[in-house]
């Protein structure tokens, strides 16, 4: 899954000799984990993820799809990073989820999907005063570090369900992608200075497998567990191996309660062993294992054009994989959304708005609004 475009700029005027690269809490290290959640699941704070066929967290959920479907999602994020008295606004556009689902007979369902696993796309501009030439010759130097690309999770999954009570799924994952890195030093006077630019590209490849189980002992309650076990993730630049690290294991457990007519209350907790990726840092950026917990409600809402609009609300709290200055980055999210059936239920439009707040135990704070637009089409 590629990120179509990223235009993120952080302009920070720093004192001389301070230089830097990644300028957001969420894009540290190998990048931001978008989570593989559909707009529907995002609207409930991720709580519905393990039960949602369009999310990639549990292969068992595919069995609930019911019909063949194609799903695309676009999720721009508008961030504001505050560091002391300075702040910067950035925008990142992502296409985090693409899903194709194909029922095979009455019991089996196959799915091919792709999601952003770690999105490293960012651009940082740092301006500093630099001595170039004589000791008294100073010039304002702008260092631009642009990284485009992501590690993507491509999953081929198969789910089985003989009845609505039990759903089982397995998935094979290929983690692939690249980061294109461009580092430029820009000087203002081209007759006196030469602006420089370096480019590099890192490719990633790895494999993992996942399983999922969904049990609905009654009509009002359901449980789901899932897990993903990773092999090694290799990083290469051209013919040079840069390193390898185990893909983080992922486990999650969810519960949903549908005892209230027209509503489903869900909760989910997941754990990711992100620390395994610390080995893929050349500068010692620390990765932390983290919990991801969410709770949310999905309920039948008002009628619009004779169709019932589904509304959702939720909250989520999780630890992002990569820390800042040895501190974990915490992300708390409030979410809301809706789903609108279209074309006689042969398609639907899903929307979620998330307000994310990220901190890392310092005066650096990050606020982001993530808008997710999803379109599901059943051929």
């Amino acid at each position: 899954m590629r990120n179509a475009f990223v235009a993120a700029t952080i302009s920070v005027v720093l004192s001389a000799s301070v230089a830097g690269g990644q300028g957001a809490l969420s894009t540290q290290g190998l990048g931001y984990p978008s989570g593989g959640l559909s707009a529907r699941a995002e609207g409930t704070g991720g709580a519905l993820g393990d039960f949602d066929a369009l999310s990639l967290t549990s292969p068992a959920s595919l069995a609930a799809a019911g019909s063949a479907a194609l799903y695309f999602q676009y999720s721009p994020e508008f961030r504001k990073v505050t560091a002391g008295s300075g702040n910067a606004s950035t925008t990142t556009a992502r296409f985090p989820v693409v899903v194709g689902i194909l029922p095979m007979g009455s019991s089996w369902t196959a799915g091919l999907s792709a999601a952003s696993f770690l999105d490293r796309s960012t651009e940082t501009n740092l301006t500093r005063v630099q001595v170039v030439g004589a000791p008294t010759d100073t010039v304002t130097l702008t260092e631009r570090n642009r990284v485009l690309g992501a590690i993507n999770d491509i999953r081929l999954a198969l789910a089985w369900s003989k009845s609505p009570v039990v759903r089982i799924g397995v998935g094979a994952h290929v983690f692939a992608g690249s980061n294109r890195i461009t580092f430029s030093q820009l000087f203002p006077d081209s007759s006196r200075y030469i602006s420089t630019s370096q480019a590099g590209r890192i490719s990633y490849a790895g494999f993992a497998a996942s399983v999922g189980l969904e049990v609905h002992p009654s009509r009002v309650i359901g449980f789901a567990v899932s897990g993903r076990k990773g092999g090694d993730l290799r990083a290469e630049s051209g013919d040079t191996a840069l390193g390898r690290a185990p893909l983080p294991d992922h486990y999650s457990a969810s519960v949903t309660y549908e005892g209230i007519p027209g509503a489903a209350i869900s909760a989910r907790v997941a754990h990711d062993s992100w620390s395994s990726l610390s080995a893929l840092s050349s500068s010692g950026i620390q990765a932390f294992d983290g919990w991801d917990a969410g709770v949310g409600v999905e309920a039948a809402g008002p009628r619009l054009l004779q169709r019932i609009v589904t509304v959702r609300v939720g909250g989520r709290s999780r630890t992002l994989p990569f820390g800042v200055n040895g501190e974990k980055v915490k992300e708390n999210t409030l979410a809301a959304g809706f789903g609108l059936p279209l074309a006689r239920d042969r398609s639907s439009f899903e929307f979620a708005l998330q307000r994310a707040s990220r901190t890392a135990g310092s005066d650096i704070k990050e606020r982001g609004f993530i808008l997710s637009f999803g379109l599901r089409v059943s051929p």
């Binding site: 230089a19 830097g20 190998l30 030439g133 461009t182 050349s282 500068s283």
Partner: protein, 386 residues
């Protein structure tokens, strides 16, 4: 820190021994190729003359409403001169004398031409006030002399000299600049007949077409400021000179690092001989001559500009001066030294038309005064995993 360091500080080194060759060379553009004709009378300091050749004059004209007939009279003969008014020095009136400088001597012999500025070769004189020195000057010459050359079919070669009680200097646009001198005269008093217009033309040297074409008008130096001492690097002046530098730059700097700035440090020597406070624009150029061209004079003619920017010098100044060469190093980064010598040529923008010259210490001077190359660079940073 939210942003871990990526780019390091810029390192700067000054290479004292980077200049392996520095020398003053002639600008091979040569006599007659100058875009301006310098007429100067600066006392004992500078004396330059202007030569204009009209080797081909019409012998017939066509009166209005009539047929062609031989020219038997000349009226209102004058040479139209385009003046670069910014070059005029002196507020007092200046007298411009014209001499017949036709000779069979060697065409490029300045001495032979200068010897003809004598009373028996005198043609005419005209005095101009400063207000009369506008961008277009009508210099009237003897009708009789023009008629004599027309009737006899001999060349009309005019030598102009400025005289006067005080210094004077001006520059005429030359034929090389497409607005050179033009001779006008009437072959009949009847003003309804258009005057004849004659452009400069030279019939000699017969065996050198290129030289013949540039000698239609040129500047002759009768007296120039005292030359710089041997071993001094000189840019500009008359005849025009350039400075040729060849460097030996460690390949570790050019190939393995990223140069962000390169500066040639020169020690300027004060030259008070002529207009010490005037500005001289100097442009650094990269030598493109390959290693097969071993003569610096020839190598200094095969150049391309480093950048569009020029460096302003004043002849009377002294001390360390800087010439930026960053673009040259960018070019050298792409071309190996055994293919393209690391050569820089300094030349004056007004090469050949300005007598002002800028002087620098050379590598023969004391170590502290020698040319040096200062290079600022950054090391390539690893672009990989975060």
């Amino acid at each position: 820190m939210l942003c871990p360091p990526i780019g390091g500080d810029v390192q700067t080194i000054t290479l004292d021994a980077a200049v392996v060759l520095d020398t003053t060379v002639q600008a091979l553009s040569g006599i007659g190729t100058e875009p301006g004709l310098l007429l100067a009378s600066r006392g004992d300091t500078l004396d330059t003359r202007v030569i204009i050749r009209f080797d081909s004059l019409p012998q017939k004209f066509i009166p209005t409403g009539d047929t062609a007939r031989p020219i038997s009279s000349v009226d209102s003969a004058y040479i139209q001169l385009r003046v670069d008014t910014s070059s005029i020095k002196g507020a007092d009136p200046v007298t411009i004398e014209a001499y017949d400088v036709d000779t069979t001597a060697n065409d490029t012999s300045s001495a032979a031409v200068l010897a003809l500025f004598r009373p028996d070769r005198f043609i005419s004189a005209q005095t101009f006030t400063r207000a009369q020195l506008t961008d277009t000057l009508k210099y009237f010459i003897s009708n009789a002399v023009v008629l004599d050359r027309v009737v006899n079919g001999t060349p009309l070669r005019i030598g102009l000299r400025a005289t006067g009680p005080v210094s004077a200097q001006m520059r005429f646009i030359s034929t090389e600049s497409q607005a050179g001198p033009v001779l006008f005269f009437r072959a009949t008093p009847d003003t309804t007949t258009k005057p004849l217009v004659v452009s400069p033309f030279s019939r000699t040297p017969a065996d050198d077409r290129i030289l013949r074409s540039v000698l239609v008008d040129y500047t002759v130096i009768a007296n120039a400021p005292a030359p710089a001492s041997p071993g001094t690097l000189v840019v500009g002046g008359l005849p025009a000179r350039r400075v040729y530098f060849r460097f030996n730059i460690p390949s570790s700097i050019i190939d393995s690092s990223t140069v962000v700035r390169a500066t040639l440090l020169l020690n300027q020597l004060s030259n008070q001989s002529l207009d010490p406070t005037d500005s001289v624009l100097v442009v650094p150029q990269v030598g493109l001559a390959g290693i097969a061209v071993t003569d610096p004079t020839k190598a200094a003619q095969i150049v391309t500009p480093v950048s569009a920017d020029t460096v302003k010098f004043r002849p009377g100044n002294s001390g360390q001066m800087s010439v930026e060469l960053a673009r040259a190093l960018a070019l050298w980064h792409t071309t190996p030294a055994d293919t393209l010598p690391r050569a820089i040529i300094l030349r004056a923008v007004g090469e050949g038309i300005s007598p002002l010259e800028i002087r620098f210490s050379s590598s023969e001077d004391a170590a502290a005064l020698r040319p040096k190359l200062r290079i600022s660079y950054t090391s390539r940073v690893p672009l990989g995993l975060p």
